[in-house]
Symmetry: C2
């Protein structure tokens, strides 16, 4: 199997049309002839095909809520079992963590607003900005991936930077790995805790003062629509923020912080008076990343 290629494939501009999966594979845009996710689970996913195979997919053009693979009946195509965070699903999760660009191909079976009338079309690079699990429309657990077109197109185009020395097989790209937002509400929560992490107690010092991040327990925006209120915001250091967002640990309703990998108790969330944190949201968040 050829090495994965993250980013643009040479000589295949955005908008290129392909007759079938075989020509898509030969061009190196999406290697697998069958599966919707191209990649390897320990490395990342370099391409997906959006073609309406899963009824839970949502295609909004610049934003795609993509359903993971597995658990479907081979004949009927219906969901008959839970999906696991393995294989292609784990590869897409890895692309989120690492900030790897994903080539998006749309097929004729997808949402007619954004899909070609026949065959397949290469639609450029997206990145996975979050992932979670939920009950699908059939009641079985599915994994879902939020893919966004990079706001600045130049950020994902082939870069002119030198390749890693001594390895000219590494393709170049530049993508957003992580974006931290601040709002008046997260600022108020950071101020309440004097920029001290509610999980580990760290207070990061910089040359201009302490640094912390506001973490929305239930993410804002589509599809979770978590509120931008203190009830839904924690003050965390960047390390704890990453681990919380990406399922490294979870917080029980009694404020116990638990390592998600081995269920070890890591400590207790510190909550100051006046915060108004809603612990029910912590419980709901845990379910989003339970595998």
């Amino acid at each position: 199997m050829p090495d994965l290629v993250f980013g643009e494939v040479p000589a295949v501009p955005v908008g290129s049309a392909f007759r079938d999966r075989e020509s898509l594979s030969k061009a190196g845009v999406h290697r697998p002839n069958q599966g919707g996710i191209g990649g390897r689970q320990g490395v990342g996913a370099d391409s997906i095909v959006v073609s309406g195979g899963y009824q839970d997919d949502e295609d909004l053009g610049d934003l795609i809520i993509y359903t993971g693979q597995g658990g479907r009946d081979g004949n009927t195509g219906l969901q008959v079992a839970d999906q696991e965070l393995t294989r292609g699903n784990l590869a897409l999760a890895r692309s989120c963590d690492e900030g790897l660009p994903v080539r998006v191909v749309r097929g004729a079976g997808g949402d007619p607003t954004f899909s070609p009338s026949h065959g397949y079309r290469y639609d450029g690079l997206y990145f996975v900005t979050s992932y979670w699990s939920q009950a699908g429309t059939h009641g079985f657990r599915i994994w879902r991936f939020r893919l966004e077109r990079n706001p600045a197109d130049q950020d994902v185009s082939p870069s002119a930077s030198p390749l890693p020395a001594g390895d000219d097989t590494v393709p170049t790209y530049s993508a957003v790995q992580r974006m931290v937002r601040n709002t008046a509400v997260t600022q108020a929560v950071k101020d309440l805790y004097d920029h001290t992490c509610q999980i580990c107690g760290t207070r990061l010092e910089t040359s201009s003062g302490p640094y912390a991040e506001g973490c929305h327990v239930i993410p804002r925006g589509k599809p979770h629509h978590g509120p931008d209120t203190p009830a839904n915001v924690l003050c965390l250091c960047p390390n704890c923020h990453v681990r919380f967002d990406r399922g490294g640990f979870y917080i029980d309703g009694d404020l116990t912080v638990v390592d998600a990998l081995d269920d070890r108790r890591l400590g207790r969330l510190s909550v100051r008076s006046g915060h108004g944190l809603d612990t029910a949201l912590l419980v709901r968040q845990r379910l989003l990343l339970a595998s």
Copy 2:
């Protein structure tokens, strides 16, 4: 003095024209009648005026390289002393760390391509994406701030989210506090270190594998143009990445990691064979944030 207002001022759309500094101040767009930076040093800067007062300013429209305040002769306007990271300069640094939006006003004295022909114009919200010090064209140390117009305009417009409970004086906004990028080169360095922080040894576990960030020692893009090569990239955990980027510590040419606040030795940078790190870039980076 009225409280600072971060974000849009009610009833002042982008493009609003003002005759003079007094009307700008009365409208609450930029409070100080003289200084170019509005804000408080422990809190943040909520507005700046770009009007060509400093010959080191660079106005590229969506990107502004803004010179801090201080060190100029009151009569001649020439730089006659070093600038310090205090007052308005520290307020702008704080806006960078916290992800606070800054109202940008352009005056008739600025770059003619982007400035009004007379008076002042409110040009919307920007955020400070980095800051550093350098020798100015007169040879004295100046502080400089990179301000970028938010790529997605809706991210900085007044939000419809509820205000913090019990405090309806807090204005709302949503801005980018921090953006982490990944490239083929940073990915290769992260892989070399198996996602282990070169400073503190942390290897963050998430549900889909380890998480680390590639840190460009000399930042990429304008104005530093640091190369995207392994020689210029470290593998760090998010906490160490933030402290390194924001002057919390520096790394000597002999790889000693030093706390920038009290010059305490924190440890030694771990460097694996095959990395090809250029220690001269570490020394150059240190100078960018020396105050």
